[in-house]
């Protein structure tokens, strides 16, 4: 079966079940696809040191760790991070900071784009 380039884009609702489900989906996909998970706009907040359990949401740490183990890339939009003046948490895996142009190119090159 063909391995595909699959890009997940998390662009809003960073502190929600949506982000949790998006990451679960990305982990599942990373087993047989080349997966990149890209956080843009308000989505970048999901990569800060927030506390999901305080607001009744399951933590996303395991999902991000799994993405790292499966060789998936995790990317944050540099403009979005800078504009919000936020600091990303150390998730134990490498988070690539990438500018909009590069993110555009990755999206264009992807075979499947899934947005949340």
């Amino acid at each position: 079966m063909a391995r595909k380039n699959v890009v997940f884009i998390i662009k809003s609702n960073p502190f929600s079940w949506k982000t949790f489900e998006a990451l679960r989906q990305a982990v599942g996909a990373s087993i047989e696809h080349n997966v990149s998970v890209i956080f843009i706009k308000d989505g970048v907040y999901a990569l800060t040191d927030w506390k999901p359990e305080l607001i009744g949401i399951e933590p996303i740490d395991k999902s991000i760790e799994s993405l790292g183990m499966m060789g998936a890339r995790v990317i944050a939009e540099s403009e979005a991070v800078r504009e919000r003046g936020i600091k990303l948490k150390d998730w134990g895996i490498e988070i690539d900071i990438m500018d909009k142009d590069h993110i555009c190119n990755m999206t264009k090159d992807a075979e499947v784009v899934i947005t949340w």
Binding site: K11, S12, C104, T115
Partner: protein, 80 residues
């Protein structure tokens, strides 16, 4: 040849213009039909437009079958 079909649900959520290429097509659905974009290749879901009683030129309206045909002809579809 259509490159990417962008299905847009809300206008506030409009993809960055740099994402859209010349041979891309934009299809407005749901409440996105309330405001029309400033770019060239766009259509609006006819049923969603009529349901909201919004006036959009006839040649911009596409049926669900048309949308499926556009998706089939394109390389890729992104719901944004």
């Amino acid at each position: 040849m259509v490159n990417t079909v962008w299905i847009i649900k809300k206008l506030a959520d409009f993809p960055e213009l740099e994402l859209i290429e010349e041979d891309d097509v934009i299809i407005l659905i749901q409440d996105a039909v309330l405001r029309t974009p400033s770019i060239e290749n766009w259509y609006a879901c006819e049923e969603d437009t009529v349901a909201r009683n919004i006036k959009i030129p006839e040649d911009r309206l596409v049926s669900y079958a048309d949308i499926i045909d556009l998706i089939e002809k394109a390389n890729k579809v992104v719901v944004w």
